[in-house]
Symmetry: C2
Subunit: 396 residues, 2 copies
């Protein structure tokens, strides 16, 4: 199963190499037990201790050059056609393989823009440069970022099915949270409640346990990128939760918003309703604009402008990211044109990419309103693959 | 507890910076959820999404420069004195902090030799170079490898206590395996038996589940760096297992060897005894030679020569590595002078480093004999912190 998934992706990689006219893709790593290239799981399916080279050519040939002690394991894993093992130095075998392929370009695993394509450490880069020193191949190196963006971004039908399953299971757990929330429970209580369900069901969390789920209650909460605290849910709080499970190797990433009625209140206050609706509408406006060929930042701008034109501050992050085998997947990012995002906001949207849409805004005195949905890009638009939150959830 | 451990290590880091006359140590990372610098757990205690700088000076001042969304979390974690958050680009704040420190040298997280000191991806390196472009600080960058080697290598008393506990628990599980082994059980059965005990006791495995424990039975087994297979234990097999648990954040890494008597056999055959004893003696000879100031390769050579002079092939790996928060810890490596080990075999041994000693040899027709012990280096020698295996374990 794992092996089949990897062979499918290797085949897709060869097609992408053809499309981009790159003869060879080299993933160069070492000691993946200490620091693991994010592409190893998708392309290799096991780790490597000594300097190792995993090569895919545009003809679909695959070669692993690894330390000799790891040869039996690599054969067992069975994801590479040619396995070459060395005892003392990777240099000779790697040069031999490159000379045989004699590539026009070699994509290697580094990128300014995309951390998923940036699995080569600088120390490994220096090692590789020394190996290639004095050869013509030193001048034909390019970043693997375009390949990685396409390979991770363009989901196959079977991948979409798995992602929908992860979303369905995640939304079911959100429903259970609605039953659990009440004044007096802490953010940590909610997180523990969720983690227990995840454990019972045998799922994995979609990202690190410290922040999954992230639970934020009330006006004084962190709002994002922080772990749950001892802060207690109170009447009059807007609560939001950011959470996803990983099922069959694919992640969901969703957010939902609740309001806890004050004593005597029978409906949600107007300012909370307004904040919630501005978020909801900004998601729909962004989704309406998504289609292949658009630049990612254009989509971010639509939601951002809608929020600021309604008098709220702009959200201090991008509107959405791709999702897949990891919570933050792919290349193109629905993000503003800020330095910290590199070239990712300028990349063009492609069919079969899965994006989150997750704007946020503060409702003064109440908390943070935020919804996160997931969409898949179609030939001429996009479709929700999460059942969108239409109304704020009310806790009585 | 976690926070205290980190503050203790930051303090030790400042002392090492003093000793090495390096004013500032910069750990520069991004998207640690996708690829995590191996020093993050020891120095920071949480992750980072956008380009982030974690700075320790030789005066013991600590500064984190992080994306604004992560400021509340960083404050909560509480491991850095100064927290600076940015919205659009890390550049301005990072340059400002560096100018204030005005360092003679800046150690950064890359290394040709040590993967634990090589947490900066090449893409992040390029980003950092652009930030420092046109400043004098670009010329004062050095690798953090010496600092990392000292910081991870020199164990405090409290670290040694934790490591002894992990070893004790690991050896207790080895004892249970002796009771479980019999003809007909597969390598995978043994691994499952071990993992169940680990789960029941609430420990973690010391390295990746795929290879921990590694179980090898008989003459046709992989012998190392491979996962357990369906291969069944048979009479006349030499069996070895490589395994360790992580307790309170510290790893053990040990190996033991068994022999399964053939029908009618009452004692271990002479050739198996010889192989086992050559391994046992080579460990003792290496341990006798270990002391501060020796170069690591000198120790490897003693065991290697003893094995080859007894007519066995040399083991295709180093004699031993350091252990600690990760199974492969520290800098100096008891390894031969092979390219693939970089400068690690040439580093000098220091007091309070913990090393494995783990030679191996094949016993033709029976399997692989290997024992792995752990020693801590003292002022003028070393001491076992694992109870050494003196006799081959016999399965009747």
């Amino acid at each position: 199963m794992l092996k089949e998934m990897i062979l499918e992706k290797q085949k897709q990689a060869a097609e992408i190499l053809h499309e981009k006219d790159i003869d060879m893709w080299l993933t160069f790593v070492r000691e993946t037990g200490n620091i693991k290239d994010p592409m190893m799981d998708m392309l290799v399916g096991t780790g490597a201790t000594w300097h190792s080279a995993f090569i895919i050519t545009k003809d679909g040939d695959t070669t692993a050059i690894i330390g000799s002690l790891e040869e039996p394991n690599m054969k067992d894993v069975g994801t590479f056609k040619n396995i070459i093992s060395y005892l003392k130095s990777v240099k000779e075998d790697l040069l031999k393989v490159i000379k045989e392929i004699n590539p026009n370009k070699i994509a290697i695993n580094f990128s300014r823009n995309s951390s998923l394509a940036d699995g080569m450490t600088h120390g490994c880069y220096l090692e590789l440069m020394e190996i290639l020193n004095g050869t013509e191949y030193k001048d034909c190196l390019v970043s693997s970022e375009e390949i990685v963006a396409a390979l991770r971004g363009r989901k196959s039908d079977s991948e979409i099915i798995k992602m929908k399953k992860a979303i369905k299971e995640t939304l079911a757990i959100f429903d259970q949270v609605t039953g659990y929330l009440k004044p007096g429970v802490s953010e940590k209580d909610v997180a523990d409640f969720v983690k227990n369900i995840v454990n019972e069901k045998g799922f994995e969390l979609a990202w690190d346990e410290e922040h999954c789920p992230a639970v934020f209650s009330g006006p004084d909460t962190a709002g994002a990128h922080a772990g749950p605290t001892e802060r207690k849910v109170e009447r009059g709080h807007v609560i939001n939760m950011d959470f996803g499970v990983k099922v069959d190797g694919y992640c969901a990433d969703l957010q939902r918003t609740w309001y806890v009625l004050k004593d005597g209140e029978t409906e949600v206050p107007a300012e909370v309703m307004k904040g919630f609706n501005v978020i909801k509408d900004s998601i729909q406006m962004a989704a309406d604009a998504i289609k292949p060929g658009k630049q990612a930042f254009e989509i971010d701008k639509i939601a951002r402008d809608h929020i600021t034109s309604n008098g709220y501050p702009e959200y201090p992050h991008g509107l959405g990211h791709q999702v897949g085998r990891v919570a933050h997947d792919g290349g193109a990012l629905l993000a503003p044109e800020w330095d910290r995002y590199g070239n990712l906001p300028y990349m063009k949207l492609e069919e079969n990419q899965v994006f989150t849409i997750e704007p946020r805004l503060p409702i003064e005195g109440y908390g943070i309103a935020t919804i996160e949905e997931e969409v898949v890009i179609t030939k001429d638009g996009c479709e929700y693959i999460s059942e969108p939150q239409k109304e704020i959830y009310i806790i009585k």
